[in-house]
Amino acid sequence: MRCFIGIDLGSTTTKAVVLDESCQTLGRGITNSRSNYDTAAAVSKQEALINARFTLLRRELSGLPGIEETLESDLASLERAFRQVQFLDQLDDLEATCRHGATHARFLTQKDGIEAALSEVFRRLRDEAGRMFVPRAQKKSDFFRDLAGSRFISLAEGVSKELKVNFEVLTNLYDKAIIEVENRPPSGAIDKKFLAALETIRAKGAKSFDSPEVAARVRQALSLPLEEVYVVGTGYGRVRLPFPKEHIRSEILCHGLGAHLMYEGTRTVLDIGGQDTKAIQVDGDGIVENFQMNDRCAAGCGRYLGYIADEMQLGLHEIGPLAMKSTRNLRINSTCTVFAGAELRDRLALGDKREDVLAGLHRAIILRAMSIISRSGGIRDQFTFTGGVAKNEAAVRELRKLVKENYGEVTININPDSIYTGALGAAAFAQRAANA
């Protein structure tokens, strides 16, 4: 099957989208950008290709008699089982890397203790892994570093006390190992992991995959070669991609086209990413007519919220919901990340509530975006909001308010997959380039 791939190397995350010949999305993949863009690109692409296999499976099996009832839940189980296999695989790699680190001469005197502690921590991690992949499990992140990291530290703390091993030594070994592990794409053949996952869910009683006909179709979907016809890279890290120049597109153009493909009526796009905010005007074909972005300073970008979350010792995903609880309009003047930090502490010291301060900060970031939008030519119907910040409900609430105040009733599109907008545009450029 001919595939067209777009990769968006952002400052925080790297996204990939795989399109088929008819420009339908086959798969999406995301990973943290790390310090190594090549790996981030490879991992996100691999993730998107894995996701594409699930789409192919769904296409093969949809409408087959007898499995209509069970298919969706069994496919969801298959995905969880697959993720678990993948997680355990990476956990093996992490353990081996930690053990290798422990062979260093400076650990010689504590060698046995460290080895025993690592064995115990990883045993417990594997035991827990099942619980991470049950239906509706609450996960703070989908990235291996975050999943394994937070549990490793927590388990290592207990084990170090029990076995009287220095906790710092364990965390040091982990810190070094995780960088190595995340900088090599997960090893092992993907189809083998799929088959292992299939076995797991069959053993647990998944019905959909039992009949010989279904099994044949599953094999068909898993073995269909996915030919990477053309790959286009975009995003801040695009110049680091090992691609020839014609395979690289500006993220402004990719976001414009991606937003157009998600919502054909799009005329204005706002993208608030990790380190930049872009306002883009597109025509009826998704072609960029004008754009503005933040200048030298990243004030008012996604990182600003990250910084605020750190200042308040909250997770990035927690600040939006907390700000939604605000009952009072509090004006925060500064979108300068550093000044806002000072203003935040000042406000809290004066007794203002955290949720009100947070709501004010969200308003400040959106005000800044509104200024960039107006410089690009204002908002025209329809208006599509993309980027990581589009997932933040408090930011969206403020945006809706300000759009209404300044531009009246405008259709505002926010796609749940908006984080993939740039990668989608890049994949569409890949498809166009290949068929030109």
Partner: protein, 431 residues
Amino acid sequence: MTAADIVKEPSMLKQKEMIAHNYDLLTSAEARGQKVASTFVPGNLNELIRCFGLLNNLPEINAIQNGMRQLSGDYILEAEKRGHSEDVCTYVKADLGMMAKGNLAPNGKPLPKPDVLLLSYTGCFTFMKWFELVREQYQCPTIMLQVPYQGDGQITQNMRDYIVKQLKEEVIPTLEKVSGVKFDIDRLREHLAASAKAEDDLVWVLETGKLKPSPIDAYFGGVYYIGPIFTAFRGTQDAIDYYRLLRQEIEARIAAGLGPITPEGTMAKQKYRLVVEGPPNWTSFRELWKMFYDEGAVVVASTYTKVGGTYDLGFRHDPNHPLESLADYCLGCYTNRNLPQRVDLLQKYLTEYEADGLLINSIKSCNSFSAGQLMMMRTLERRTGKPGAFIETDLVDPRYFSAANVKNRLESYFQMIDQKRKVAATTGVHA
């Protein structure tokens, strides 16, 4: 690329020698007993200054030199330490910082204390404040020539008379007093005749940007081409010789079908023809230029090359009307023109130079240039149908140049032009 690899043409070497010689004259002025005037580029009265045997020291040129030599950052910090805020024009801070740190010229010797400050006010408000600060330091005579702003977009006889009156009653008598030299109008006529000769060749050079391929880059290359005429050399034989040499070189490039010369040799492909508004960034000048020529973008016309005179609109210094032509020169400088005039000029460039679009380099610390630029861009997009884009940098503050950000915008802009071309090719509709 090493310094040795950079291609230098004879005109470049000549200009380099001229500048070095001028700095040598300036730094030895006190010892030789020669007097020095400080003045700014737009509206500078070089021919008049020369009539009194004065040397001309241009503070913005010193700031630019220091920007290109990576010294301005330290100077700006020094000025900030002394109480000049972050948003002040960075030419001013680079100059004040340089004065505070020994006032060294590129030849490593201290620049002289000015004997007179001659401010010809042509639209930049900051120049006034700058000289106030310099005056405070040197306590020297200051002349302010009030040039009326072209608020209504035209030069009236009244405006001209007002300037001529000031030249006669204020500027010339003060320069006579400072220099001890009596004003000789025939000497002025000679300098003006020399200016006009060089100006003819400069205009010829700048207008070759209309050719395809363009043999010049009218922004990055253009700032070198305007060097002698905008600074201490207008009205001299050196300037005449420089422009003659430059013209011959460009004639040869045209004959050979060659594009502009860049620090990495002749630019091969010309994919995009741009008009640029706004001053360049000096601290990352090469890096910014590379972002253009690597992508095949050539600047065919720019407004910055008109800050020291809009010769391409027909103005020439005129020996037959010496004081009136100095007045007209000051009134016509780009910074003294109102926004509609600037828009009209840019529109003329976009059309006559057959450009693909307009790029604005908006300068963070220069309100005089930046105010109204977005509006100008919108108007021009509407009038010409050609796309505009905005980059934001600074004059000489290295902290305000974000290469990734600028590159991102430029690449997006170039690809936007590509996309528009593709659409035009398929629909037959041309922008």
